[in-house]
Symmetry: C3
Subunit: 316 residues, 3 copies
């Protein structure tokens, strides 16, 4: 069973966003703010002598780098397995539980990415040291949601009573689903979901999320974007989710974030976010807009959120 | 020529168990005990600024992690080459001697695993810095034998006058051969070797090992296991050693370590060991037995034995 | 636009040798000399808490290890991507500029090797943190030229008025071209270029380099090597540059550095260099000659030159 955080992070696993509540989110964000104000030299003293094992059964330069940097900036060291499917005992037929028992002998915390949903729960169950889920396929990627929430929080000083737009693939987008869940913990939020009809949220998920108290409004044209959003959260239509590549080609650039769209529909306060990588759905000319956070503040916050997690989990 | 240790580890290579004698084994184990009692913070001061190059021409998450963790816990850093066959000058046709000369410019010690027997001797011969053999094919893997011996020593406070059982593939099992050699250094030991007839020790090796003074008793049924063993050392039948996969399938699970077998044949004092990974030859239900050391104490000791080696070899 | 160094390295990119002039080369070499005299403990304090991202889109054990070791010996840590083509967002179609923006969030400096000429200029243009070119295909590899120049400088205390021999593939050899450019910054140098006719310098490059004031003399037989060279710089004929493997086989060992050739044509002062790896063009028996620097001093200087660059660029 996954333990709720309930404000106490020490030795906890971070596997699912469902372990969080308002209190634990706020405790985490307070720590992030503290870390952002601390000098590198002081930060470097936090985890000296500690070791994190990073096991990425699926490639991700971004998520790997962010966790590695976070741990190292706190003074710790990492043991890296960026492609363990080919370089490990996995090929010899070892179970994921036995592999977990091995890794925990050599480290203080495990960060794992795996293509199969539910794997991280198994790993956390088996492990006697804390485990962080860095994405398990169509399952969860809780620290991505937390960094997105922090980026919004940092700008507006709250996570309630917000109006947002999410665009792209609402059906398959893991980051979209997670951010909806995350914002559902706080009252009074409304999200506009912009996608082609083929990629709208599944009815089951629409019901489930709506039942959490968040207001979801599905739109299928940029004309229906309200002009007073706090944030726009754009996403990539992920090639790897489509069996029929023709369908992908047809849908991939249904909605593009352009300077023109911004001038028509964005507010002064609106921030522009994207989990990255992008493959054309945000025009490069938008990068220089001071409201664009996807290349700078947002990924940087990812590193800081992970630093805060590592510190809260491991600092005695 | 490989240098004997003779109690002095400074700047020595660790390539073969044959470099060791009782005195050097005991010096090493004394250092391991000392390290296990030292605080992480103190340990972290030992190798600050030192660099180990880890070159694994053959995949091994376990052995790689154990060495990496050992070196980092002592405050050192590593340069990692987990798949140099594809990412290195080896593809450009460079000799192993030239590669060694390259690596020694950039580090204080080399840890290498290689699929070909004898390679590590060549590397140690060429190198002007210490080299540790992390397994060279059907050749040697001396630190595995040392960690197995330490695990037995830690429990019984001696390495002589012991009775043990080894089960699995006696013909091809490198760890089995090494542990027999290691225990041969000490007087009065008896080992029961349990395997299917097809996988019994070769006659040459039977004679060679027996000539070292250790008593070897071959058995082919669990019925013949004596009930007063100090340790049971189970091993995997390694798929990769069989040309005919049908033979492998027939033999792979000839002998399984079960709760039932334990209740029939194990003593209170008997410890259960396995070099891992396992693929079915130990029932998962055995894991919780307090006498089972294969998932916890045994691999952890691997890290401590490697820490002790690094410290004795490099500490000035 | 690439910035000239002009003696000030702080936060500068190192992408091309053309950024250097006599003054900046000398400032760098002064720093190298200082570093070689400093104790490891003191060096280790320079970059504590700093992170370098090493991204090698093309394999190079040597260049990777040299940079990694340099950064770690100064107390920094690295985030390693040794094969990002397969383990990164590059496979998801991310642009090199976006990838750069990602990496700069997580590190203080980027070291990149890439198969395509000109990539590093793009990366440096996009990046807000310093970037070091560790080789971009047939483009540049400025730190290789600098370490070669330092090795000559260290021996002769000057970089002007020297006579050198370069042998091997003058047509495709990147290191040869770079070293010629490097030595062109200083007056009075003469280089003899020894190659088969098929691999002589292109007429365009011959003209370009000659125009810089260096004297280039093409020779096609060892008989024409002058007997008073300051250095011999041997190179590998690179298999990967040939479309027709028969031509490669015919030309690869046109000129071999042998003991016999040394006794006939080398002076007492002549030093023997090679960027490595070699595949037969230097006899192993030459290794023991005290004038042979290619296995020891030359690569070691590579590490020191990179330490000096990291220190000058990042030390505040």
């Amino acid at each position: 069973m996954l333990k709720s955080i309930k404000g106490i992070f020490t030795n906890k696993d971070i596997v699912s966003l469902s372990q969080f509540d308002q209190q634990s989110v706020m405790k985490l964000f307070k720590e992030v703010m503290k870390i952002k104000k601390t000098s590198p030299k002081k930060l470097f003293k936090n985890l000296q002598g500690k070791i994190a094992t990073l096991v990425f059964f699926e490639p991700s330069t971004r998520t790997f780098s962010s966790h590695a940097s976070a741990f190292k900036r706190l003074g710790g060291q990492t043991i890296d397995h960026q492609n363990p499917m080919t370089t490990s005992s996995a090929v010899k037929g070892e179970s994921i539980e036995d592999m977990t028992h091995m890794l925990e002998q050599y480290s203080d915390i495990i960060v794992m990415r795996h293509p199969t949903k539910g794997t991280l729960e198994k790993v956390a169950e088996a492990a006697t040291i804390p485990v962080i889920n860095a994405g398990d396929g169509v399952g969860e990627h809780p620290t991505q949601a937390l960094l997105d929430m922090y980026t919004i929080f940092e700008k507006f000083k709250r996570l309630k009573g917000l109006k947002g737009l999410m665009a792209g693939d609402m059906l398959n987008g893991r980051t979209v689903h997670s951010l909806i869940k995350g914002l559902s913990m706080f009252p009074g939020n409304t999200i506009y979901l912009l996608s082609p009809k083929e990629l709208r949220l599944s009815r089951e998920e629409y019901k489930e999320y709506s039942g959490r108290g968040i207001r979801l409004v599905e739109i299928f044209s940029t004309k229906d974007i309200p002009s007073d959003c706090h944030f726009w959260y754009w996403t990539r239509v992920q090639k790897e989710r489509f069996k029929d590549q023709k369908v992908y080609e047809k849908l991939k650039l249904s909605f593009i974030l352009t300077k023109k769209l911004i001038s028509e529909k964005a507010a002064k306060k609106t921030i522009f976010m994207h989990p990255l990588p992008r493959v054309g759905e945000i025009e490069v000319s938008v990068d220089d807009d001071p409201r664009s956070l996807y290349l700078t503040t947002q990924p940087k916050n990812g590193m800081y959120v992970r630093m805060a997690l590592f510190k809260l989990i491991l600092k005695s």
